[in-house]
Symmetry: C2
DNA sequence: TTTATATGGTGGCATGTGCCACTATATTCA
DNA sequence: TGAATATAGTGGCACATGCCACCATATAAA
């Protein structure tokens, strides 16, 4: 019998940590951590981004993205080239190796959402998704 | 203009990280981190718990709670005594210092939820809360 | 009762994340 | 143009968290 998660703050913590544990174990076979998987996902989704765009889209600290991208370059998932128009920034592009794992990573992320919502009706799941996006956008807007 | 957080997985990450940043800065005046604040909250809510109960209720790894409780004992917020019926476990009780910050900590946690849901209607906010609890409970149940 | 298994707690290690200081390059403005 | 300011990236540090190995105590099984 699971203990009741009785405050929304606590629920969010649990959802974050559990989904990352699931993604970590699901991506281990590709030698990727959850954090690395998320970066590969977004770079492939856009077919290439500047390092700064990745930072803004994931709204993580820029130093975090710098470290993750460095690692993914070393392991051959991403390629970094200096941006022609702004020498301060990098263009990040996926390699073949990244494209190869992309569908599986995407599926793992989707699967983790299905897991946490498996007892919801389709209508509840859609509403949950909508409210999550709404709250996340509101949280980002507060920092502007 | 904030970037769209376009997947529920990413939304949950953002909500978790932002709410912890808010709680960290809100609790800094009491020399408490967000993680410590959450432990104080649950110990005061129940007026005392065993260390193992805290672990299960927050569903964090037991070593994490051990470290946090050790720190909070050192800083005078909690008292640890060996449980009479089971010498392996500890009874954790709040001190006066913990009770003194408890209302403010509770308010900070509530405030963080209000922030992320400030543009929702009351009905949406209640529904969001309900779905968060539902998903968190489902996530915990999967590990049984 | 003795032995095997389960459970609560601790310490060590790795990773993720945030913050800060700093460097290099761009942009703005006087 | 030249100086002030803003922005992209890096490295260091601190803390949070998860996992694992291990120890001590309880509980179950023989």
């Amino acid at each position: 019998m699971p203990y009741m998660a009785d405050s929304p703050f606590k629920s969010i913590s649990i959802l974050y940590r559990k989904s990352h544990i699931w993604l970590n174990s699901g991506c281990a076979q590709y030698h990727l951590s959850a954090a690395q998987a998320v970066v590969i996902l977004i770079v492939c989704d856009f077919g290439g981004l500047t390092q700064d765009e990745i930072t803004k889209r994931l709204s993580l600290d820029k130093s975090v993205i710098a470290k993750t991208v460095t690692k993914l370059e070393e392991t051959g998932f991403l390629i970094r080239t200096t941006n022609a128009k702004d020498k301060r920034t990098y263009d990040i592009r996926p390699t073949e190796k990244a494209w190869a794992v992309y569908p599986a990573v995407k599926e793992q992320v989707d699967e983790s959402f299905r897991r946490m919502t498996h007892q919801m009706t389709d209508a509840e799941r859609e509403e949950f998704k909508r409210l999550l996006l709404l709250a996340a956008d509101a949280s980002l807007a507060l920092d502007e």
